[in-house]
């Protein structure tokens, strides 16, 4: 199922704007977290990004709002305020979430306003081809997740089929656009030699691939579930450290780091 555009073009829903993001692209960046995601990855550490609508978060000191509607001009105004700073530190803005492609029309208009700024996107790649291409064309650096290659396992652990993701990866490889592949390393789920081999094989020879980033699972992932009224019950063993065997990538001369 391909997600339809949910919101009118002029407004979007975001749940955070984080300054000084150091792992979301080059330089000092600000990351905008868009609300709503079509996937349901078992290890998701931002459960407040799943529901596309503003909701309440129940915290120790009371109830807080999570997520707000924001116009294109307001969001771009906030981001443009620091453009001198981004220039000086060779940084920029990264769009993450949730799944930013879920609000493609809104995102597109914001990107139009940010022509002078280096932009990046963190995406699952789960979106219709035309939407993927439309947004990626306006982005300077793509950070795309490649969670699982086997489609059955992918459906089991993320709730969706990965055919469209792999197709978009193919499109990305053909575009002359620098990209980073991110793999959250989930113990005994995708840190297996077979999955990492399959991932490495898919990426071999991709000219614009900057590197592969492996993110070992962290135990704080479940921290916010109860705050948004969800239960955290992953079907994998949380306390087993994932394997960080990067041989598959190194053998194919694919730059790879473990974050």
């Amino acid at each position: 199922m391909i997600m339809k555009r949910c919101f009118s073009a002029k407004q979007g829903v975001i749940f955070d704007i984080k300054e000084f993001a150091v792992f979301d692209g080059p330089g000092i960046r600000t990351t905008v977290f868009l609300k709503g995601c079509p996937l349901r990855c078992m290890w998701c550490h931002n459960p407040e990004g799943l529901n596309p609508n503003p909701e309440k978060m129940i915290k120790k000191q009371g109830i807080e709002n999570c997520g707000e509607f924001i116009s294109v001009s307001k969001l771009s105004g906030i981001l443009l305020k620091d453009q001198e700073f981004y220039k000086k530190t060779q940084g920029g803005v990264t769009f993450s979430g949730g799944e930013p492609l879920l609000q493609a029309d809104f995102l597109y208009e914001v990107l139009q306003e940010l022509n002078e700024i280096h932009t990046a996107i963190e995406t699952s790649g789960f979106a219709a081809e035309e939407i993927f291409q439309m947004i990626i064309n306006k982005i300077d650096l793509v950070i795309m997740d490649l969670k699982l290659i086997d489609s059955e396992l992918h459906r089991k652990y993320t709730g969706v089929d990965n055919t469209i993701i792999l197709k978009n990866l193919g499109i990305l490889k053909d575009m002359r656009k620098p990209f980073i592949i991110r793999i959250p390393l989930i113990p005994k789920v995708n840190d297996t030699p077979s999955n990492l081999e399959a991932a490495a094989a898919l990426l071999e020879g991709a000219k614009e691939l900057v590197r592969v980033e492996l993110l070992p699972y962290h135990r704080t992932a479940g921290a916010k579930y109860s705050m948004v009224g969800r239960a955290y019950a992953p079907l994998f063993q949380e306390d087993v450290p994932p394997s960080k065997e990067i041989g598959s990538f190194l053998r194919r001369n694919i730059p790879c780091i473990v974050l």
């Binding site: 955070d16 704007i17 984080k18 300054e19 000084f20 993001a21 150091v22 792992f23 979301d24 330089g27 000092i28 600000t30 990351t31 550490h45 931002n46 915290k59 120790k60 000191q61 305020k81 620091d82 700073f85 000086k88 530190t89 940084g91 993450s96 963190e122 993110l215 962290h218 135990r219 704080t220 992932a221 479940g222 921290a223 916010k224 109860s226 705050m227 780091i257 974050l259």
Partner: protein, 689 residues
Amino acid sequence: MTKHIEGLLDFFIYKKCHHDYRRKKPEDKYCLARKFKAASMPDIDRVIERFEYVLKEETPVVFLQDKIALIRTLPVLPEIYTEEEICDISKGHHIHEQGKVCNVNPDYMSIIDVGFNEKRKEIKKACKIYNGSQLYYLEVMLKTLDIIEKFADRYREEAKRIGNHTAARTFEHIPREKPSNFLEALQFFRLMHFCLWCSFNYHNTIGRFDQYMLGYLEHDLKTGELTKASALELLEEFFITFNKDSDLYPGMQQGDNGQSMVLGGLSMKGTDSYNVLSELCLKASLELKLIDPKINLRVSAQTPVSLYEKGSELTRQGLGFPQYSNDEIVLPALLRWGYEKEDAYNYVVAACWEFIIPGKGMEIVNIDGLSFPQVVVNSFPRLIECASFESYMQVIHEEMDKLCGSMVHKYKNIYIEPSPVMSLMMEGCIEQAKDISHGGQYNNYGIHGSGLSTAADSLAAIKKFVFEEKAVTPELLLEMLSVDFKGYDKFANILRTKAPKMGNDDDLADQIAVDLLDMFADILAGFKNDRGGIYRPGTGSAMYYIWHAQSMMATPDGRRAGEPLACNYSPGLFTKCKGPVSIIKSFSKPDLIKVANGGPLTLELHDTVFRNDESITKVAMLVKSFMDMGGHQLQLNAVNRDILLDAKKNPQKYQNLIVRVWGWSGYFVELEEIYQDHIIERMELAIDG
């Protein structure tokens, strides 16, 4: 790190074996004072007798592995005055802290570079032109040298006795002669520094070590006596010496002994004076991970990002340093305050963060602190009569004027115990036969400025809700504050969370902070102290952020009665900060050249940002950006395990502490305990990695 250094760390730092040599009998700290009082001895005689007593009572202990010897064996220093005498003195004098010369930076090399024999000649020459009490003082200085020499001789004998030929050889030469190599210079320094502590001086700052010791290092590297590796080892042993007796050193807070070392700095030629010794010092600090010496980096527009990167690597160790001071702001500030050009360029950082001059400054840079929020509170009664926010700011000006005025009039006739040991290393004391306690070339006082963000936020709330939106009348607002918001929780929450706050790059709040600091500078500019010095306004808070807050009522920023203020120059404690970029933008808006007594912006970054080289570069860029934007001083903390454990216990102090793991972030105090523990656990892995 060599095996020798590992051994020293084990012996002195982890196992503290040298403590076994300390006198265990409880000392009566008034044993001498009573004798002195009975004999009605003048203070100069008291201090020299005490100094002689202390060094005599000290037992020389040399360990076979020592290249640099000396440990304290007498834990308690005797006072020269009884409590009643102090009481009497304070009736006619102002006594600052413990009434001793402290928190200055002596010119160690004025004695080390020449040796005692030469120094004696200098003093004897001065003796020829003085008589009476001045001649007497010079004779006391000569006696001081004798006492130290005798003590050094006992160490030489002990070194011989135990078979430590290195130490014995060193003490054959120093302190009578000037050092012939780096090792002797370091031992000589340790001796003089040791003697300062023994004469009850404290916050004995180290200063520009990389400048004044460079010659000795370069000489040894040239002759081949030392390689860079063996020099590093020697330096590390030297650094360890600052931690051997530090538990005995007095201060005002736990762990606060003022052993600050300053590296780098712009020279008058316009070049950066960071050198091979500065490099080794950073390396030594990084390898040892000891709390002393505290490293301060002087930076300027010339400073490359790579130095900030080295600094960030040091920050990662979680020790709370380096602290960065921006020459581009401090130099113009000092010149504007009347310091000589050469002296300004030579500035160092005092025990905490104030800017002082080596060898020439008998300055009390922390003599008092202005509470900005108290100024706001004092202005409340007149809020009702103000038709506009501008007219209220006039009232603020008047109240600040009153408060500053009452402060400066308190500090008359200051009394400080003389210190011949310190005076031997302060310019002009021999020449003028005058103890440094009576004044040096510079005699300025510093006034801290605490709670700036609380005051700016409070005034911003008044501007927005009382004058602009008219959401609340002044009467109602004051009513709410007088009952500590009881029954007005909803509005208190709005003030706390929805009003403009300093630190979020919001001009409404930030401009008010700019104005408050300008006011502070303008008001103090009119005052002089009775030693001919000026009052320097600053942005530090020392302990005032607690003291000023405890008895202060609720404030319009949503702060409850008694709630603490932010430390130094930082956003309010419950401000939900947008992030470090907004913070450095906000805090670089004021004209900091006018308020440069000292007081850093403190940024706390979670350890993840120090995880790899790429992110460390970004941290470095962040610090450099603050300086480029006109920031004066910055202290960067890597949130470490102790902070998190404290946050678990005292969440109200850490409401805006954010922890991050890649793309996940959360307010630490909002997490369930189990997740807090996961974060703490990750912390431990991080430091080793």
